[in-house]
Amino acid sequence: MPRSATAARPRLLGAVTAVAALLLGGCAGGPLPATEDKGPADSGSLTWWGWTPDEAPAEAYIKAFHKAYPRIKVTYKKLTIDGYNAALRPALASSVGPDVYAVAPGSGNGPVKQYSVFGVDLAPAVRKELGPGWRSKLASIGVGSLTADGKLAALSAGATYAGSLWIDKDLFDRYGLKAPADYAEWKHVCAVFAAHHVGCFVQGAAQTAFNEDTIQAIADNVRPGVWEKAMAGRVPWTDPTIVKALGLWQRLFKDGIMQSGALGTMQYPDANNAFMSGKYAMVMMGTWYMQYATRAGSTAAISGAGVAHPKPFTQVPIPFPDMAGTGHVGALFGDADFGLAVNRRSKHIAAATTFATWLGTSAAGQQTVADVLNDVPALKAATPDWNAVKLTSPDVQRPALQKLLKDVGRSTEPRFATVSADMLTAIGEASTTVASGTSPAKAAATLQEAAEKDAAARRTH
């Protein structure tokens, strides 16, 4: 007997409902699993996601790790700075996300406060590695800023600090110039470079997070510590120091020190490539640029900038010039660069924990970090082995790098750790509007308004 259409309807409805339920159930995902060691601790295949370090340092870390743990295979995937959060969130919400992922303090990329929910508590593993006094052996900047919801959500590989400029020493030498120490010298240097059709200073002011570095450096030059207090809400953003710093930032544009078209330029890749390809003699970058002082790092970066036959040049850090004429120069501010978190959904939690603790706490792992020069090591005992580091021009670079590392040891000022994403956006907006001609006082008032709104939102939560 043939089935009737009416008889088919309930079955059809049931099938549709079942398929839809399956689909919706799959989309909704399940509760996060309890964290427990899964798999062996000394073997497995891991994926590691991050926006930093570059492939070359990551390969160096993995290569050194394989010497210690040959049965754990680590595959690194470097995502873009701007695309990291977009890729990470759905990956972690699924069951096929990375085993190890990078997070950062405060409002940096992969903010730890937001992504700690997906990670395991790494404190027991560190305690096992370094003993009960483990906190005293690690830089506090890494432990404190990567602790969230009462757990050590990630292990810092090292820290980075901003506030410095980097110069192409070879270009300076070619035109008989010395690194500018104050604003007048900076203008003179730029005039000479312009006369020789060489770009002077480059910054990607369209990627606004980096503008914060420059303005914070200027503010510390005007009066040290005020910017940090403003970020912590202890000083209003309308403080004269901030207003003056914004005014000096504006002068960089008006006086032509900032390259033409800076507001349409990204720090990565535009400004970075422009400096690496020798088009500009100075760039605003921090300690993460130390890796390019090495022959290998410099060659890779120049090649990455599109230069066909890369020739390493002498890259040297210098203190931010004394724009305000106060003599307060050389301020550095930093955070843990990236921390390695272990995904609680990973099928290889034990092996992933082995990798994270090896890189973040072991003597061998941290020595590798120190020698690669991408980060200032998290383990206090680790320092670069200068005999192992192959610099482009050791006589010039080594003293400069040693001074930089000494200076960061004195730094107590955070970079992004205490600023929310909304405030960082507001600072970015203020930086571009001031550069376009808005009065510094007006921009400062806008910042204060944003800070009050941000504080109110935090109180609500």
């Binding site: 099938a15 919706l24 959060n85 937001q114 507001l263 349409g264 535009d270 571009t432 376009s436």
Partner: protein, 317 residues
């Protein structure tokens, strides 16, 4: 004939046709078609409508996208949007973007299609040249345009070398020029689509009508304005609908070339939704913006379709 057609579908259907007449025939067709539409039906209901409903729910939350206990805030995200100057900027940019790109693409697409329907040498090459930008991924082209329109880029180099150095400027770094550059890139990229659709539509115009116009002594311009242009009105309406929806959804070119800046001068709803939802982690607010985008797209499509229907009605009268 009808009987033969349904017999081909199998004995069960044929039986109903014979037994039940026309009404039963309609009922009989439905189940036999269901297996064919099921995959698409499940896909649409399960993914698209689920996503729409889920987005509507998310728009009532204050949520960062990961925290397990989001706060329900009712309609306050929508209220906040109404007082959000960046939202209104994005709407304004969308409107300007739609008008300029639609007019430019329509003019150029219609012009190319008309010219290439005439006897012209190397017509095939021109067709390829006009259409090629359509198949280039914006992600691939964005770095090229960033370089071209940079302060030391090729556009300014060209201006200097043809004696127009006074017009050289940092195109992407100024609020006044960044949006026009984005619109220029869009016109360059998508005129090929407009051209192809007009080319096909012009091919559907009755040749006898064109011949009659020529016999009556109509010039080329008159033929274009009075015969061809009205003849492709349906295509123009469809392009307008696609254009307004495309403008509302614009994301890739402004995000990849200017990141919505400087000073939000190239911010569109798409770029704003991305920025607010991911870097700033206000997923609820971003969802509310997405819902508004959907509503605006539907309204625009309905308005354009309704207007086109009215015009068709007027013409029949």
């Amino acid at each position: 004939m009808t009987s033969t057609m349904f017999k081909a579908r199998g004995p069960r259907t044929a039986h109903r046709v014979v037994a039940g007449g026309a009404g039963v025939r309609r009922r009989g067709v439905l189940p036999s078609g269901v297996p064919w539409i099921m995959p698409a039906f499940v896909l649409v209901v399960g993914l698209i409508y689920y996503a729409v409903v889920e987005t509507g729910y998310l728009s009532t939350l204050d949520w960062d996208g990961t925290y397990p206990y989001p706060t329900h805030v009712g309609l306050s995200n929508y209220r906040a949007i109404l007082h959000d100057p960046i939202f209104w900027k994005a709407i304004w940019h969308t409107a300007v973007f739609f008008v300029v790109t639609f007019v430019a693409q329509t003019f150029l697409g219609f012009l190319f299609a008309s010219l290439l329907h005439s006897r012209i040498r190397l017509a095939r090459l021109y067709k390829v040249l006009v259409f090629t930008p359509v198949v280039l991924a914006p992600a691939t082209m964005a770095p090229v345009f960033r370089q071209m329109f940079a302060a030391d880029g090729q556009v300014n180099w060209l201006l200097h070398h043809i004696g127009l150095g006074f017009a050289a400027q940092p195109w992407l770094a100024q609020s006044s020029t960044a949006l026009p550059v984005i619109m220029f890139i869009t016109v360059w990229q998508f005129t090929g689509i407009t051209f192809v659709l007009y080319y096909a539509a012009i091919g559907q115009i009755d040749p006898q009508t064109l011949e009659a116009a020529r016999i009556d002594g109509a010039s080329n311009v008159r033929t274009l304005v009075s015969i061809v242009w009205p003849g492709v009105r349906g295509t123009t309406v469809a392009l307008a609908m696609l254009g307004v929806i495309g403008a509302l959804k614009t994301f890739d070119v402004p995000y990849l070339v200017t990141v919505g800046g400087p000073n939000y001068s190239t911010e569109f709803l798409g770029t704003y939704i991305y920025r607010i939802s991911l870097p700033q982690a206000h997923v609820g607010y971003g969802a509310a913006l997405s819902v508004l985008l959907l509503v605006l797209a539907l309204l625009a499509a309905l308005v354009i379709a309704g207007r086109a229907r009215r015009e068709r009605g007027d013409r029949r009268v």
